[in-house]
Symmetry: C2
Subunit: 444 residues, 2 copies
């Protein structure tokens, strides 16, 4: 994990504010190149870079500003500072979390710097009102541990050499109660209540503890301390990202741009990917599992995953898509995607083995191109194998299911199942009974 050198003195007050005890300089101000230098930037290169940044994104605020930042960086050679704020509480990440990481990697490949910002300061506080039991305070050790775990996973996507890891306690701790009051003075209540969930709660008479209103300001202050040029986040983070923009203006800085990425759909192609919905691919899942899950997605979802998860260029993807539309088996594109992802999180060799295993299994069973899709509900609990086979219509009764298993006629994802007590946890499976009966079972 790379870590940056200590920053300049923290911003105790806005440089132009009446309460400022001293003018503030934070980090290295980006050199402003001559207008001539900007004019010398190749417009085609600029547009190409912008297209990479825009790829798959939900919103880029404000595009014209970002174009200027990009042009200035290209002219001066000073990389843009692209911030991703992280709550160090949930280090077990799935492909949905990597959408933003992919975007950051694309920015790194364009020469820019990524700041992997660990929000350790507020995590050490937790939710002191005690209203939110899922947010207990974390110890410094837990936070460091989670951050390392998170970064080790993220580094499978990011370029370590262009990643700066920072902890916001670095500037939040020395802020002090007085700095907190100055920070609070830079924003009005009305603007904070513009946040959708705040306004709804206020209107509904649900309590909003005062510290909840301070958290967006703390997050925005991180952008000031880091002199961020761009902040990334999910669409649900848009309000907080915009606060950073406003605070930077208040502290006399050029405001950051904001890039929101969509939430990735899960394997079902409908709901957003989430562990609790069972429609996810964890990035530390075994190569075979990861490969199989990716092969199970629909063709439509495959192209979405290409856009948001693949490192391939948009041109490459467009070409592949054209070939598929011209009659090439979509399975080829799916295999290529699954191999790319498994290679990223494991290795090329592991991806190769996963493909071979997958093909071997399907050769044994000669998996048909089309088979019935069956959706079964289990409220997240999973289903016993016999019950799943019956509900999928592959056997007339559970006793018939058990008999078939005894005869070695039942396969799940190509593997013969003999354990009569096997539970199928929520997820998608290719189920086979005998030679002819097939179904793709989705258990939710």
């Amino acid at each position: 994990m790379s870590s940056s050198s200590p920053p300049s003195p923290h911003p105790a007050a806005p440089a132009d504010g009446p309460g400022a005890s001293a003018p503030v300089t934070l980090g290295a101000p980006g050199p402003a190149p001559e207008p001539d230098a900007l004019a010398a930037v190749d417009p085609a290169a600029l547009e190409a870079a912008l297209a990479v940044v825009r790829r798959g994104c939900q919103e880029l605020i404000v595009e014209a500003e970002f174009r200027r930042k990009l042009a200035r960086s290209m002219a001066s050679g000073v990389p843009l500072r692209c911030k991703l704020g992280l709550d160090p509480t949930a280090p077990d990440i799935h492909l949905g979390h990597t959408v933003v990481l992919n975007k950051l990697r694309q920015l790194q490949d364009l020469g820019h710097t990524v700041i992997f910002l660990i929000g350790d300061f507020t995590s050490m506080i937790g939710d002191p009102s005690g209203r939110n039991v899922t947010r207990p305070p974390l110890t410094v050790e837990q936070i460091r541990h989670n951050a390392v775990t998170y970064f080790e996973q993220a580094a499978l996507v990011l370029d370590r050499a262009r990643t700066e890891v920072r902890y916001n306690s670095e500037w939040c701790q020395p802020l002090g109660a007085d700095g907190m009051i100055r920070l609070a003075s830079s924003y009005t209540l009305a603007r904070l209540l513009e946040r959708d969930d705040f306004s709804k709660r206020y209107a509904a008479g649900q309590p909003i503890a005062m510290h909840e209103l301070l958290y967006p300001l703390m997050q925005g202050y991180d952008s000031v301390a880091l002199r961020a040029d761009l902040e990334l986040g999910g669409t649900d983070q848009k309000f907080n990202l915009l606060v950073g923009r406003e605070l930077q203006k208040h502290y006399g800085q050029e405001p950051q741009c904001v890039l929101t990425m969509p939430l990735l759909e899960g394997l079902d192609g409908v709901e957003k990917m989430s562990k609790s919905k069972g429609n996810y691919i964890g990035i530390s899942e075994a190569p075979g599992e990861m490969f199989g899950k990716l092969m199970s997605v629909s063709d439509v979802l495959m192209w979405r995953y290409y856009e948001l998860l693949s490192a391939r260029s948009l041109q490459d993807i467009a070409q592949l898509r054209q070939q598929t539309e011209d009659g090439r088996n979509p399975r080829d594109a799916k295999v290529a995607l699954a191999q790319e992802i498994v290679t990223r999180f494991h290795s090329a060799a592991a991806a190769e083995r996963a493909l071979e295993d997958f093909e071997a299994r399907f050769r044994r069973g000669a998996v048909p191109e089309d088979m019935p899709e069956v959706h079964l509900a289990s409220a997240g609990a999973g289903l016993a194998i016999a019950s799943a086979l019956k509900q999928a219509g592959l056997v007339p009764s559970t006793s018939e299911a058990l008999r078939s298993m005894e005869q070695g006629a039942v396969r799940i994802d190509g593997q013969r199942i003999e354990d009569r007590t096997l539970m199928l946890t929520p997820g998608s499976y290719v189920a086979q009974v005998g030679k002819r009966r097939w179904a793709r079972i989705h258990i939710a």
Copy 2:
């Protein structure tokens, strides 16, 4: 100026909150006397003490709680801690400010401790939003200077030996940004918006900067740090005083009681005493001026001043009032009050001299008991003497006024006026033209 020993560790978090890093103990917990000891308190003495505390007050919240505190203190001999928070920006005090100081003195005379709390912490910050130009940040030196000036004036009323002077930077500084967040977590937005001016501003769409919402919490936190039993303030402070009560509960302390005092009416008997309205008596005004101004108040207002400003017991005052109602000249009571006040802020000798001067002047003029009361408006600018005499109906024209002055026939407060350009600033005056024409002129 007495100053206390350093306090126990500051309360970083509520003792019972989930974010508490350690249980909190602040100051010396008052020993809880046995129920037997409480029962041994003389009920008559308790009621007498309570009557002293209630004298002239606007509200005592919650009286039953305060009665228990008082009884416990009487049983245990542990004084109650009575807090007065001060903004160290306006050290020039008038009689209106001494209403609360008198109440504190009464509490001291009952054996309790007064905490003279200088809000230096937020004064050093000022209003960082820059919206409030009357609240620039003060330096430590300015604050100390103002506090000393204020205390030197207040000590004319207070008992120095029973006064603890504290500065809230003592616990606010070490609070840190994290302590500030914990403090904010203990209160909801909705409860802060119950404050009248906040709710009006919010409803009117006027901006409320976030730090303004933090200030009542800081003030309340002072009560936690001081383990206050009682906090005093003007009626306009009621909301903030109640916040302290709530925060103490949150931090596991017995809540303070709240005693609000009315705003003292100025010399006109109508508007509250204020420097800008010119209806005030500054406590450092010369003895003669102070005496004369007190002699100019109406008989009704005199009794109000007795209640709120005099150190005499309520019994004494009731007796004096009875005598007056039975035919004694109210002037005697007014002289006694004026002498008491001048003695307090100057000396007994100065009060004696002031009375003699006053009487000598009036002997010259034989001031009638009754004379017309005339209220003149000048929008605070004052009036030229000739114009005031004409408007008061004492002369038919300003040229007649000037002629009377030339003849030495015009007196203001017993003094012959020959300066034709004299301006009468806002205030009350006894004006006399010749032997017969009198008026009490109130200029606003």
